[in-house]
């Protein structure tokens, strides 16, 4: 069954959608969108380094994403204009990544595949990494769920209950780096944070509790992944952008259409 590239692609999309849903909720709740962008864009530099050193791409991506995420996490909340700083970092990481890939002479790189993903080229080994990493992220977040929620609500409230808010932030930072590493093959560096934010934001109007929002985000992400795969196969479009477009349509449906036609009591 796994010999069929469409089956592998579908499983890869599902694996990434499941991992990004709960993490994406925290990215939305904690206003970490730029943080996600900076980390995801840094992945490109990781690709270049891995290719230059002739090592496995996923290791390079994971290492650089982790490094950047840790750096951002350390410097955040220290009185710098965070929004601007992260914006600068996110876009310069993208530029530096593109620059370093193009400087690699003698290596033929399909740049587009790393920018917007190439889900149809997912190998059995990739699939194992995606599901291994994805399940690790889900397990990590499930384990820290209560502490993460409390410190998201208020670091002081968390601290009063003996929860170290900085350590919980570190948990999210590590989870983000893993997600970037496993998702780059599926949606590419440019669209990873879209896959984090859009399903979560689409789920918000349908949810009354944090748990419900994470589950609904996972459902919307899965539908977008499978639907995007189908549509791109039919219409011969890029799969990554097709997946995100379907997720965006879901966001529009729940946040605009639903609110216009359903009166809330």
């Amino acid at each position: 069954m796994l010999d069929d590239f469409l089956v592998r692609a579908a499983l890869a999309g599902l694996g990434v959608a499941l991992a990004t849903a709960p993490l994406g909720c925290f990215v939305v709740w904690r206003r970490m969108a730029y943080f996600g962008d900076a980390t995801a864009h840094a992945a490109l530099l990781g690709v270049a380094l891995a290719l230059a050193l002739d090592g496995p791409v996923i290791v390079g991506v994971l290492a650089v994403a982790l490094l950047i995420a840790l750096a951002v996490s350390t410097f955040s909340g220290r009185g710098l204009a965070e929004d601007t700083l992260l914006g600068v970092l996110a876009h310069s990481m993208l530029a530096i990544g593109l620059l370093s890939v193009s400087l690699l002479s003698g290596v033929r790189v399909d740049l587009m595949a790393y920018l917007v993903g190439d889900i149809l080229a997912v190998s059995k080994q990739d699939l194992a990494l995606i599901w291994g990493g994805g399940l690790a992220v889900v397990a990590l977040i499930a384990w820290r769920w209560q502490a993460l929620l409390t410190s998201t609500l208020s670091p002081d409230l968390a601290q009063a209950s003996g929860i170290n808010a900085r350590r919980e932030q570190l948990v999210l930072t590590i989870a983000l780096a893993i997600v970037v590493a496993v998702a780059i093959k599926v949606v590419g560096a440019l669209l990873i944070s879209a896959l984090l934010i859009i399903p979560a934001a689409a789920a918000r109007p349908l949810a009354k509790t944090p748990e419900a929002m994470a589950v609904i985000a996972a459902l919307i992400g899965s539908v977008a992944a499978l639907g995007g795969l189908g549509v791109s196969f039919e219409m011969d479009t890029q799969t990554g952008p097709t997946i995100i477009t379907i997720a965006a349509a879901a966001f529009f449906a729940t946040n605009v259409v639903l609110r216009l036609f359903v009166r809330k009591t």
């Binding site: 009185g79 209560q146 929620l149 002081d156 409230l157 009063a160 009354k208 509790t209 944090p210 929002m213």
Partner: protein
């Protein structure tokens, strides 16, 4: 032993020292009130005591496994985070349905268990925060201007509940408040703060201390003087 001990503690915010050389112990069952002008370091002191702010010098020690019920001055809930009142009570530790319902009844918001936190009125929100803080049966209850958003009968009822809770749980209560007359009467000990501890002791002793009068004036004008003296007072003649 003492519940919380701060020795020679200084706290900084953004590289600036907000509070210096605080020596303070909190004992079981006592009600300690912190008064002081805006910007005098009241909330900062509370954050130091709960461990949210590491002292730049000095030490804070808490009794082992100390249970702190903390009611912050302000809690903004991101509109993107769906959170019912019932779910909020489960953070960070899940509580039984019976305990949760009892707590909401005491807080007078039993009908709102399924309401979103963001849709509560200011007074309801404060009472839910208090309900959550009490659910863990705290050793020490820390209230940062907990009566804001409550009208006068509301805040009177609030203080009566605090007194009842103290009797019930024998917990210590540390509170910051602007309701000078009420808190002065209800406290065992008053701390007068202005960048450091100006004076402390039993309410009647503090009320007649020159440092306190320099900050708040005397007699019934006290509450008004709180704001007037904010920028004019200075410290020349202190004994520490």
């Amino acid at each position: 032993m003492s519940l919380i001990t701060a020795s020679n503690m200084s706290l900084s915010h953004g590289g600036k020292i907000v509070l210096r050389d605080v020596d303070l112990t909190i004992e079981q069952g006592e009600i300690v009130t912190i008064v002081g002008p805006n910007g005098s370091g009241k909330s900062t002191l509370l954050r130091g005591l709960i461990g949210a702010l590491r002292p730049s010098t000095g030490l804070v020690t808490q009794k082992k496994d100390l249970k702190i019920g903390y009611v912050p001055q302000k809690l903004e809930i991101n509109a993107a985070l769906p959170l019912t009142v019932r779910r909020f009570l489960d953070l960070p530790n899940r509580v039984t349905q019976a305990d949760a319902i009892a707590a909401l009844q005491t807080a007078g918001v039993a009908d709102h268990a399924d309401a979103q936190m963001a849709n509560l009125s200011g007074g309801q929100f404060q009472r839910v925060l208090l309900a959550r803080a009490l659910l863990i049966k705290p050793d020490v209850l820390i209230l940062d201007e907990a009566t804001q958003g409550l009208d006068q009968p509301g805040s009177a009822a609030f203080y009566r509940q605090i007194e009842a809770v103290r009797q019930d749980l024998n917990c210590a209560v540390i509170m910051v408040s602007h309701d000078l007359h009420v808190v002065m009467a209800a406290s065992d000990r008053v701390l007068c703060l202005n960048g450091h501890i100006c004076c402390q002791g039993a309410p009647d002793i503090v009320a007649s201390a020159p440092e306190y009068r320099a900050l708040f004036g005397s007699g019934t004008q006290g509450a008004l003087a709180l704001y007037r003296h904010e920028h004019t007072h200075d410290h020349h003649d202190h004994s520490h």
